[in-house]
Amino acid sequence: MMHLKRSLSIGLWFMFLTLPLMVVRVNTVSREIEWRWMNLVWAGVCAFAIAWLWQFSIERRAAKRMQVATDDHPEKRQHSLAQRLADDPVLSRRVLIGVGLLALVFPWLVSSGNSFYHINVMVSALIFVVLGLGLNITVGLAGLLDLGYIAFFAVGAYTYALLSKNFDLGFWTCLPIGGVMGMLFGVVLGFPILRLRGDYLAIVTLGFASITKIVLENWDTVFGGAAGIANIPRPDLFGFELDGRQKAIYIYYIVLALVALTVVVTTRLKNSRVGRAWMALREDEIASVAMGVDMAQTKLSAYALGAFWAGLVGVVFAAHNNFINPDSFTFMDSAMILAMVVLGGMGSILGVIIAALVLKLLPEYLRAFAEYRMLVFGAVMVLMMIFRPQGLINDMRRKYECDTAGGESDNGGK
């Protein structure tokens, strides 16, 4: 009954709240006012329903907290499906192989004749997977809140665009250069902000990225300004000419290889001395420094290594699109990549991959709801933080096996 009353009042409150914006539309040109009363009804009903659901969810969350707090045997806590999967080496290997095979034959499954729309969509999504994995190093592992990650992506893209336009350098030459440029920017950005934490760090990185974008937009002579740079060459295959569809497939495999590379490198870093230092820094900077971790070196390496992937895949992005302009590198994009890392589960590689694919593919294939895409995105961010802040996949820590005889093996951290 309490639920009903509260939900009702919340419904009414939202009707009041949305009244001017959703009901009234003023057209000063035609001097008319459009009154959309149905919207009011919708608002009220939706608010009522959501309020009801919300209260149930909050109650469930509180009950769960109570259960956890009074739990006598925390070690025996039920593990999620993903964790049980990762713990079973045979099953996880099979799943991995299955997914790998699927990824390899993907282009042939979804395209026929000259249509390669789906391949392009997947390429875009995979580019963002790499971005998510890169940011996962800086934010997820090292805990350094970077709200301006997209700037490194822009650096990579513009590096290729400018080098190919002005010096005729090829894709494969520019690929590592793009990565290195990204890394350099990462270090340059990281150096002055080493002492900053939390919110301040986030805002400064946002400031850096905004400055970068404004410079790209306005320095016409070098960067082409708002119009950007066009006619960026696609990667060639030993000089052979490829048609549109073949080029798309070629780039698909390049990006796929990059994703695999990123996953391998990131996993190795995560389970190494460097990765542990990053995580310690994230958990408690003062304690880790007291235990011998060099704060400056460790932080800078996190920025550099994270930015490297963005620069690298920025080159691919430029090659894939043939054309870049500052509009591809907005704060929204930074926010989206950050969301991939946070919603996927800080530090969890598999989680970030899933989150990235979902966030990039869903809007493509749910075109009908395209208008509401950003709205849902914003709402999801808020809701996830309230109901599942640890993200999709709780970072599963590596289990070490050691006996006094000196044996050691691991199940691999995902």
């Binding site: 914006l21 539309r25 919110d199 914003g378």
Partner: protein, 302 residues
Amino acid sequence: MDFEYLFQLLCSGVVKGSIYALIALGYTMVYGIIQLINFAHGEIYMIGAFVALIITGVVTLSGYSGFSVLILAAVVAAIYAAAYGFTLEKIAYRPLRGAPRLSPLISAIGASIFLMNYVQLAQTPDFLPFPELVPEFEFMEPWVQYVSSVDMVILVVTALVMVALTVLIKYTRIGKAMRATQQDQVMARLVGINVDRVISATFVIGSILAAIGGVLIASRTGQINTAIGFMAGIKAFTAAVLGGIGNIPGAVLGGLVLGIAETFGAGYISSAYEDVFAFGLLVLILVLRPAGLLGKAVKQKV
């Protein structure tokens, strides 16, 4: 030395700075009390402007006009902004009290994105014109090239608001409760202060100020769109940090400094890079003196 140009820029800068100050106050008060950067504050500012636009639209199309319409619109805008701010806090921030700092920040970003797109969908992403409702005051005639009537209104309103806010913080019960909660939340609770209500009140007051800023800027520039919140928000946050986050006079000082620096930069160096000056200032302050101009560096207890 073109003093006339300089003076023009100065006046323009102060006017701009006043708007930044109004918005910055909301940021600084919220940060002071719950250590959260309310990313969505800029959108509240934008919503205030939009509500005012709608009210003026409805009223002027019914035949009325004049300064009183603007005042009515401002009042309604303030009420709605307060309502949105209140609701925002309850939905996106209150459930996350006590969570690690990253969670409320992400929630704030999500709320900001949600609100902006909400208004975009409910209204339109295009620019909408805002009617001119501020009459040309006769006594302003000789100064018109430096300070227009609208500018005058902005300065006066801002000054009045500052005074009102200072009185509120210093002399009223709620003001004292806010100061207490800012200094020691646990203790405040223990002496019987309803901390939840104080936090809500902080959001409400900040939102009202932002709405007033929104109405004023709409009057000045003559048009608004849903994107104004983001930029203004970042800049206002810069102003708040510049003056020392959590520090109310600091927010005002920061706003003025930012407005003047930005206008001078645009006027003397390059107008295209106007925003770069704001961001550059932000980066500089955060790197060199995070405590801000009026803030105190806080040593972390180990």
